[in-house]
Homo-oligomer: 143 residues x 2
DNA sequence: CTCTGTGCAAACACTTTGCAGCTAA
DNA sequence: TTAGCTGCAAAGTGTTTGCACAGAG
């Protein structure tokens, strides 16, 4: 383990204990691997990486652990929901709010979000095709 | 078909012809169903709905068609990528750019996006837990 | 008539679940 | 010691693919 990550690992262990989670060597390895990666890895990618040092680890453990981290706020999901793709046929400017409990996706419209500026540093490097402002939380019915 | 949607259907047929796509009754039904729904349906939900009137339609057709619409800009994906979930362990404020070609997700940070305001009308109804600004496009390597 | 689109079935990829044995606290 | 965790295997869910037939242009 790189020295530079010591602080983060200590913090991680504290967070686990506070949440009543046991600090297993698998969990440490998964957390370590995740924060060292800049590639926004999938569970499978994390699994392959760890398998080099802990050959007995299973993909399920990685899956379950990453989802646990997500719940605890130690990590989060940036892509894919594990659920089916969902489509929107409304091509007018609008934004989405998703309830993490009932999974409803609700449209709303706030004019200021329609034309958020692309930072010049980004526009210079990438060709932006779509800009999204997206909120997640608990809806009125689930509160 | 509701009268109110006639304009959209005509536009839809034109868009298809321009793109060299045949205007089949399945495609019309799928488009119709999608724009009538406010629920951001999955392919399966669209399929079940259409099956009532076109009992021979297959889920594959719905899947393929919705993805085609997505390519053409007649609809878009609001949730789920069809790919595996991907995680991020970086809990500092930052935003993501995703290349739709190579699927890379790249972090960037633009301070103004850290504190975008939640519209009061939204904050009143929902409990917001996460705010995201997200760009999609073509990265430097794929251009 | 031709060539794209469709329906079907099988393959595939990812995630979830149940359970017995293991291990951190 | 014991409650929670892990590894395994099987099942579940969603998506993709190859192919023969159907139907739009």
């Amino acid at each position: 383990m790189a020295q530079i990550d010591n602080d983060k690992m200590v913090m991680f262990e504290e967070r686990c204990r506070k949440a009543g989670l046991k600090v297993t060597h698998q969990r440490k390895a998964i957390y370590q691997t995740l924060i060292e990666s800049k590639l926004h890895p999938s569970a499978d990618q994390v699994y392959r990486q760890i398998k080099r040092s802990i050959s007995t680890i299973s993909l399920d453990t990685v899956n379950r652990t990453l989802q646990k981290f997500n719940e605890l706020g130690l990590a989060f999901t940036v892509e894919g929901s594990g659920e089916a793709r969902r489509y929107d046929g409304n091509m007018h400017d609008h934004q989405h709010f998703k309830c993490i409990k009932c999974r409803r996706i609700i449209d709303f419209h706030h004019g200021e979000f329609d034309d958020i500026d692309i930072p010049p540093a980004i526009a210079k490097i990438y060709k932006i095709l779509r800009k999204t402002v997206y909120f997640e939380g608990i809806c009125d019915k689930c509160k």
